[in-house]
């Protein structure tokens, strides 16, 4: 047997273990858990891919109470899942979203109108994991702790409102892609908008 043919099986094994191959079914840069199974709050999420922001949205448990000043929410997703969504309109298993809530400040520096982003108020997360969450597919997390942000969090109980709201009101899978201006078009192109998504539905 000549040298190139002898090398072929090794090449095939290497190819089958490559990140590109593993990446077919799950994202490699998504959630990490501690020894107790809690989701670790990622410290580098500001280097993940930015998806969108809202101001004063009635969105999620960290929304401001009525009469309180509005808040910004910034949404980030792990880079690999973002790229996979661009190529398919679908979120791979192990996709992780981070929702960052910040104060909305006004009259900062030369800014005479509108709002700029201020201090961090809350961090929440959503994770797609068909193994960990066989009944709900996605798990939802809050890193609110007694003394500020917690380093890790257990999933919220499935009775939390986020589960029912994400299941009922989202445009793509259980994600609010209708609010992600660059990604909603991707989903429309790939035909992955849920057939039951009704843009006029109010909760």
């Amino acid at each position: 047997m000549n040298q190139p043919l002898r090398a072929l099986p090794i090449l095939l094994i290497v190819a089958s273990l490559s990140p590109a191959s593993r990446a077919q079914d799950r994202a490699a840069d998504g959630p990490r858990y501690d020894a107790g199974g809690k989701l670790i709050r990622p410290l580098d999420y500001r280097e993940w891919v930015y998806v969108t922001s809202g101001l004063g949205m009635t969105y999620g448990p960290a929304q401001a109470a009525a009469g309180q000043p509005p808040r910004f929410d910034n949404v980030f997703v792990n880079r690999e899942s973002y790229r996979r969504f661009l190529a398919s309109g679908k979120w791979p298993d192990k996709t992780m979203f981070v929702l960052e809530v910040r104060s909305a400040d006004s009259h900062v520096s030369i800014n005479n109108g509108g709002h700029t982003q201020g201090g961090l108020l809350a961090i929440e997360a959503a994770v797609k994991d068909t193994t960990r969450f066989p009944d709900t597919t996605w798990g939802y997390f809050s890193f609110d702790g007694r003394d500020g942000l917690a380093d890790a969090a257990a999933p919220l109980p499935t009775t939390a409102t986020c589960y029912a709201c994400h299941k009922k009101n989202t445009a793509v899978e259980q994600t609010f892609v209708q609010f992600y201006p660059t990604l909603f078009d991707v989903a429309k192109r790939f035909g992955t908008v849920r057939p039951d998504y009704d843009p006029s539905r109010k909760p």
Copy 2:
């Protein structure tokens, strides 16, 4: 002469040309120019590092006119410069910012209050380049074209208001780091906030 010693000069040459060495003074993932010297509009800026958003800020030439609905502006910076700023509080040469302006929509889907981000309205850029802009250090660009976004843009003339405003009102170098909630603290820690920065100054 033995083999290891013969290889040494080559290793030194390779080391002196390595990305890590070149990265000391300029970012490698920043601006790209076409053959005519125009700045190429990056197609992947949404995968750069998100810095902040504002809503209805009186910021830049793409601001909404009085009486018009407010607009979101999202700011992105090239990844290498972001990481260098985290480590030094300074922007390396070839730093590039992208300012993306989007409509602020209301009552989209389940959202009953506040604003969500809609269609793209404008893209602008700021580039630090001491060679191309020896007098101003930074160059400012607008990708507004007759038929939508231009693929490339020449720097705005130095008489454009952005040059004077960035020179006078910014907190770090010629950048509005006072509006970047995660980076202003970095600049304070490294002592790179401009001594003449006055947070109460209005234009």
